[in-house]
């Protein structure tokens, strides 16, 4: 495996969402996955000090490219003059969620390039295509899991990067796959307190909640 730069929030989120026993993502509604991927990108741009936010708006503070092939194509259109005025957090979440699959695809290619996972396409009954991402190098996934477990199972002041991951994992319900029922029951209050700390994470959780409500209503009306 080659040396690679620190993983982005989106890359670590994808590793957390990947079931290492099957190489497939835990079941998430496509729109939930898109929204969380969009949130991860906004968090990454915040960590790189390209955007900042208040309670409602995101503003671009530095248009300089980050050098990251996943983030720069997102940042560039955000810096075009008509868009440069602050826009609601939900506006950018929706815009980027529309590209959710493409964002994940680019981030997964980065993880492949780093030698952390590989892509396997198979056909079942010669008809149905399935894609798996077996993890080749487990260190990165294990470290991300251990870090966020440490955050939610201890009372220390967490680091910003880990708060973002906890917020995304919480918004998508990933903790039920990572923790046992017993652990989850004991850690729920802490998870909620940590997740609340990130304002973009809050917007993701709200959007995911609305998506789930819409899905539940649509299935109820069938």
């Amino acid at each position: 495996m080659t040396e690679h730069p620190p993983l982005t929030i989106l890359e670590e989120f994808l590793l957390l969402a990947l079931d290492d026993s099957t190489g497939q993502f835990y079941p998430l509604a496509r729109s939930t996955f898109d929204c969380a991927s969009a949130g991860a990108i906004l968090m990454d741009l915040t960590l790189r000090r390209r955007i900042d936010n208040d309670l409602r708006h995101i503003f671009v503070v530095d248009a300089a490219p980050t050098g990251n092939p996943v983030l720069d194509p997102v940042l560039q259109p955000m810096t075009i003059a008509p868009v440069l005025t602050p826009k609601p957090i939900t506006y950018w979440l929706r815009q980027l969620a529309d590209e959710g699959e493409a964002l994940r695809e680019r981030a997964l290619r980065q993880l492949e390039a780093h030698g952390i996972l590989k892509r396997e396409d198979k056909k079942i009954l010669w008809m149905f295509g399935t894609r798996r991402y077996p993890i080749l190098h487990q260190k990165e996934q294990r470290e991300a899991k251990l870090r966020i477990l440490g955050v939610v199972l201890r009372d220390d002041i967490p680091e910003v990067h880990d708060i973002m991951l906890v917020a995304l994992a919480h918004a998508c319900g990933l903790f039920r796959h990572i923790l046992s029922d017993h652990e989850l029951a004991g850690a729920t209050a802490r998870i909620e307190a940590v997740a609340q700390m990130d304002l973009i994470g809050q917007a993701v959780a709200k959007a995911v909640g609305e998506i789930e409500t819409a899905i539940a209503m649509a299935s109820g009306f069938r």
């Binding site: 309670l55 503070v61 910003v160 609340q196 700390m197």
Partner: protein, 115 residues
């Protein structure tokens, strides 16, 4: 023979850092550097006085959290006081107070750190 001093020297009064204007992308690096220097020089009880801080952004909140984390790792405590309306609104919305204590005035903050 006198026993060797093994504990870090802790000043009687907490260190106070007065934040002014805005705490956002443009000012956060300098605030973070100053506070880190204080921690490296042995400060273990620090008050961030926000009486003249009128705007804090998401990155400003992250900066305070990062400093509180660094202070905790060093075995100390960092607290806030004198929050102005916009800062109070951001602190409430983010639940920052669950991790970083907030006091009305500097004397309450001192009392919490020294009492």
């Amino acid at each position: 023979m006198q026993p060797a001093l093994t504990e870090a020297w802790i000043p009687a009064e907490p260190d106070v850092m007065e934040l002014e204007g805005r705490l956002d992308t443009s000012t956060a690096p300098a605030v973070e550097e100053d506070a880190r220097l204080c921690i490296q020089s042995g400060a273990r009880r620090m008050v961030l006085d926000c009486r003249n801080l009128f705007f804090i952004s998401g990155i400003g909140l992250q900066t305070i959290l990062t400093l509180a984390h660094a202070m905790q790792k060093a075995g100390g405590r960092l607290i806030l006081c004198n929050l102005q309306p916009q800062v109070r609104e951001m602190v409430d919305a983010s639940g920052l107070e669950d991790f970083v204590p907030v006091y009305e005035g500097q004397s309450d903050a001192f009392l919490a750190l020294t009492g």
